[in-house]
Amino acid sequence: MDSARNTRLLRRRLQRSTGRALVVRTAAVALFDAMGVYALVSFAGNGTLSVAALMAFALALVNWAYLSPRTQGARWLTPGLVLMAFFVVYPVLYTSYVSLTNWQTGNILTKDQAIEQLEQRRVRTGESGESGDLIVYRNGADDLVLLVVGETVEAFAGVPRSSDDEPGAATAAFAVPADFEPEAPPEEIEGYELLSGLGVTAVAGRLQDLELDLPDGRSVVVETLTSFRVTTGGKRFAYDPATDTMFDAQQGRRCAAGTGTFYCDDVPETDVARIAIIAKDSTIRCSGGICDRVPLFALDPSLTGWRDLIGFDNYIDLAQEERIRSPFLRVLIWNIAFAVGSVLLTFAVGLGLAMLMQREEMRFRGFYRSIFIIPYAVPGFLSILVWRGLLSTEFGKVNELLNAFGLPDVAWLSGNYQAMAAVLLVNTWLGFPYMFLISSGALTSIPTELIEAARVDGAGPFRRFREVVLPLLLVSTAPLLIGAFAFNFNNFLLIFLLTGGGPPLAGYDVPVGSTDLLISFTFGLAQSSGRGQQFGLASAIIVVIFLVLAITSALSFRLTKKLEEIYDR
């Protein structure tokens, strides 16, 4: 009865406030839309279409949720959904996409960008070409004339051409005064006026694409604002979109586009870098001193390629390659042990202290409580580095302390098992305040009657803890423990700053240390395979880590649910 009247009252009040709320709401949505559409346009403009699509989805969702009259529930969920789409779903999808590509050193550009870069390269002649003075003139119609003079270049003024055009006979040459001196160039050449230094800067964007053909058949390029250089070779590459091939003037050969780069056939083996032939993913086939399917970078490692979809090759590599697989399993086991160990240790210490702080007879509890928060309040960056110093084998305070008690030095950071212990120790220090806080809260919410009842029934302190306190505590803290597990599973910062993954493990072909987590192992692997950085392979590992975590979390939540069901009864 009472609640029905309340509901009616509430509804009336809501209706009254709707007018004002609508204005505020629409204004907020309008603001969001304005910014959102601006972002959408700029994302679409610079080619990040996936982000643009995501933005469009977010805009549609927000407008629907806040402007449609029948979406009360969605309004509360929308901000979370939008943030989740941007910061969880999108990174996962993008990482999955990268894991299907050959994204690595030498293949980071798009195909168009790679072709653009290649087309700027010139045929290599081994000579640098002479340089000399460049003077720029301009007429009223904004046409440019270049006057060049150098050691073997006689003073010559002419109309430049675009560097994309074929060199031809010099067009429209102009008479240069006989008494010409580069230090005091003529003010004017046939209606073209001398440009000052600032004037040349203003047309720099046009100059950088210009070439000038000399009467003697040579060409010069504009090299700086005041100098030119005689070209010793023409453009090296010319792309033909119709056949998707690239003509390489250096080799005089036409190469066809393939995965990630252009591939040339009939190349003499002596021109091909041996490292490219023996590489595990090599496409090169040689017989009788002639090689086919030679990628451009095998001819010249400074010729770039592009990123391309390669299907599940990275996953297949991961599964098949012994040099990655064996350390991977080693790291996975330690990773799980580390995450579980960290959660158990921090929870045990935190809960122990919280229970201690609950005892009435404990004095100065407020003081201790504040003290316990300190490790949590100091930034991890700082305390991890301090710990690193404290744990130093020869110079650290921890070993000094051990020595004072007559104990021998412990190689905290350079022994395999010692380093694992050190990592857990430091992580316990960093993590127990959090567990202390949540256990304190959860403990106070446990009804004291239950504990009293257990006491009356004759349960000892240990039994009371095990059968009453802990299960009730776990109902509320289990999700947080799962969160802590997931966090520690990827605790890159701690490992990176404390041990760097080390000490190194012998007997593996990839750099791996005894405290490496999957994430730090991946970080190392991404930077140290073959030709530099391998983002595709690293992303494949990240996806595997994600799956491991997702499955673990799903299973754990199911377990927690069971827990709740049991104790709800």
């Binding site: 609508l22 629409t26 204004a27 309008a30 839309d33 304005a34 910014m35 601006y38 346009v41 402007l67 050193t105 030498g106 980071i108 798009t110 870069q117 290649l118 640098s128 070409g129 301009r138 230090e183 003010e187 006026e193 000052s196 230094g197 600032l198 004037g199 800067t201 203003a202 720099a204 964007g205 100059l207 950088q208 090299e223 700086t224 604002l225 250089r229 032939i277 010249d300 490692p301 400074s302 770039t304 040099r323 690193r388 130093s392 084998t393 020869e394 110079f395 950071l413 350079s414 760097g500 080390g502 000490p503 593996y508 072909d509 990839v510 240390g513 190392g524 140290s528 395979s529 030709r531």
Partner: protein, 452 residues
């Protein structure tokens, strides 16, 4: 009814705002274009500005001055063009100090942005293709291979100016036959000595051991790359002590990643020297921080590191110290890794001509190179400045060390070397592995990564 009006109202606001947002952008662009056009139009013949420039401007132009300059003076104050440079904290200062001279001469505004040195390399590869990178950036020569393979740096033709650079610096930035940066500094490790403890420079490693035996000192030589931190760079003088190395080197084609020589007899012989020093207690297991602290506090006789520590030696230490090339271990002088720093040109720069002018006409000059040396302290890569510093003993010592050394390989495959080499040398440093085992393992790991 009322609600519906509200929605229409809201939609109108949205559209208005959207229009405002987009329209604003377009307006701005137009305005900028117009401004640029204006500036172009009158700067072309505004000798009033030229007069400020110290250059060889011709006075006659000032007389036949068209009235354009009164048109809009504000436009003239805006820069005609601008370039962006990424530099780390030690180079931002000198670049900002010299930039106004370039601005005065050319009207180009120079924006120097501070980027952490270690981050420049990765950020350039991301930002440059997206059109957000700098026009010029400071970098180390061993990035050259990766950046060039990524297509984000443009080759630079130094022409005759190449004769003015230290050869090893040019070699460092040379990848596949082209130079990809304008070098300005070089560095290599040498040997700092506590001259209170050891007054005489030991010429050979035997002299060094004898000197350490003669005094009471806890640590004879501290070298980074022990304890808990792998550091292949600082341990490399031992790797090359007997002629060993990482990859086979050919003067014409550079390093050949298909020929790993880490487990050659020469390399192992060099690392065995290191192993013996560790076993005999002459080389302590120290990471960088402890190696430095021990030396600065007088607890070590020798400290092997580079010229970047000269400043802290002068400022933070009470001991008397001197610096010399590393004591000889074999028939030839010790061959450390040489690093070079230089200015790269972003291949995606839209101001490539101006950026190139900045590098060739402005950086590659005596004044700028001197200013960079004054601020940075590393041995210059510009020969005229090196010659002018003939009376600077520190530069001479590090210069000698550089002359003995070889540039760190700049091929992208080096990424697969640093980890295994550093880790295995660390095990030798900590007495956990023999030279032969460690180098064999390192060689296998590198072969597996680059070729297998």
């Amino acid at each position: 009814m009322r609600r519906r009006t509200g929605i229409w109202f809201a939609t109108l606001i949205v559209l208005a705002l959207v229009a405002a947002a987009c329209g604003d952008d377009a307006d701005n662009e137009d305005a900028t274009d117009a401004a640029t056009a204006d500036t172009q139009a009158d700067s072309g013949d505004t000798p009033a500005e030229q007069d400020e420039a110290p250059a060889e401007d011709d006075p006659p132009a000032a007389e036949e001055e068209p009235p354009a300059e009164e048109d809009d003076p504000p436009a003239a104050e805006e820069p005609i063009a601008s370039i962006t440079i990424w530099a780390d904290d030690s180079r931002v200062g000198p670049l900002e100090a010299i930039a106004p001279a370039f601005t005065e001469e050319t009207g180009v505004e120079v924006n120097v942005e501070l980027v952490d040195f270690g981050g420049i390399r990765d950020q350039v590869s991301q930002a440059a293709p997206a059109g957000e990178g700098p026009d010029i950036f400071v970098g180390a020569h061993d990035w050259t291979g990766e950046l060039a393979a990524n297509g984000v740096v443009a080759p630079i033709n130094l022409g005759d100016k190449a004769d003015h650079f230290v050869q090893v610096a040019l070699d460092g930035f040379n990848f596949a036959g082209e130079v990809f940066a304008v070098p300005y500094a070089t560095e290599a490790v040498a040997m700092y000595r506590n001259s209170d403890l050891v007054p005489e420079t030991p010429a050979t490693w035997d002299d060094l051991r004898a000197a350490c035996d003669a005094v009471e000192v806890a640590n004879c030589v501290t070298v980074p790359g022990g304890e808990d931190a792998a550091d292949a760079y600082h341990n490399y003088p031992f790797v090359s002590a007997r002629g060993g190395g990482i990859f086979a080197f050919d003067a014409s084609s550079g390093f050949d990643a298909s020929q790993v020589v880490l487990d050659s007899d020469d390399t192992i012989a060099g690392v065995e020297i290191l192993e013996a020093q560790v076993a005999d207690g002459y080389v302590s297991s120290t990471n960088y921080g402890n190696a430095k602290d021990l030396f600065l506090t007088g607890q070590a006789a020798f400290f092997i590191t580079g010229p970047w520590e000269l400043g802290s030696m002068r400022d933070q230490s009470d001991i008397n110290w001197a610096v010399s090339v590393i004591a000889q271990m074999g028939d030839a002088p010790v061959q450390p890794f040489v690093g070079a720093q230089g200015f790269f040109l972003n291949a995606f720069s839209e101001n490539s001509l101006i950026a190139q002018s900045f590098l060739l006409d402005f950086i590659a000059t005596d004044e700028t190179m001197q200013a960079l040396f004054d601020a940075d302290g590393r041995p210059p890569a510009w020969l005229p400045v090196v010659e002018a510093l003939s009376s600077n003993p520190d530069v001479q010592v590090f210069g000698a060390s550089i002359a003995n050394g070889i540039p760190m390989p700049n091929i992208p495959e080096m990424g697969a070397v640093w980890g295994p080499l550093g880790d295995n040398l660390l095990q030798v440093r900590n007495g956990e592995s023999t030279a032969a085992d460690a180098m064999t393992a390192a060689a296998e790991a590198v072969r597996a990564a680059v070729g297998g």
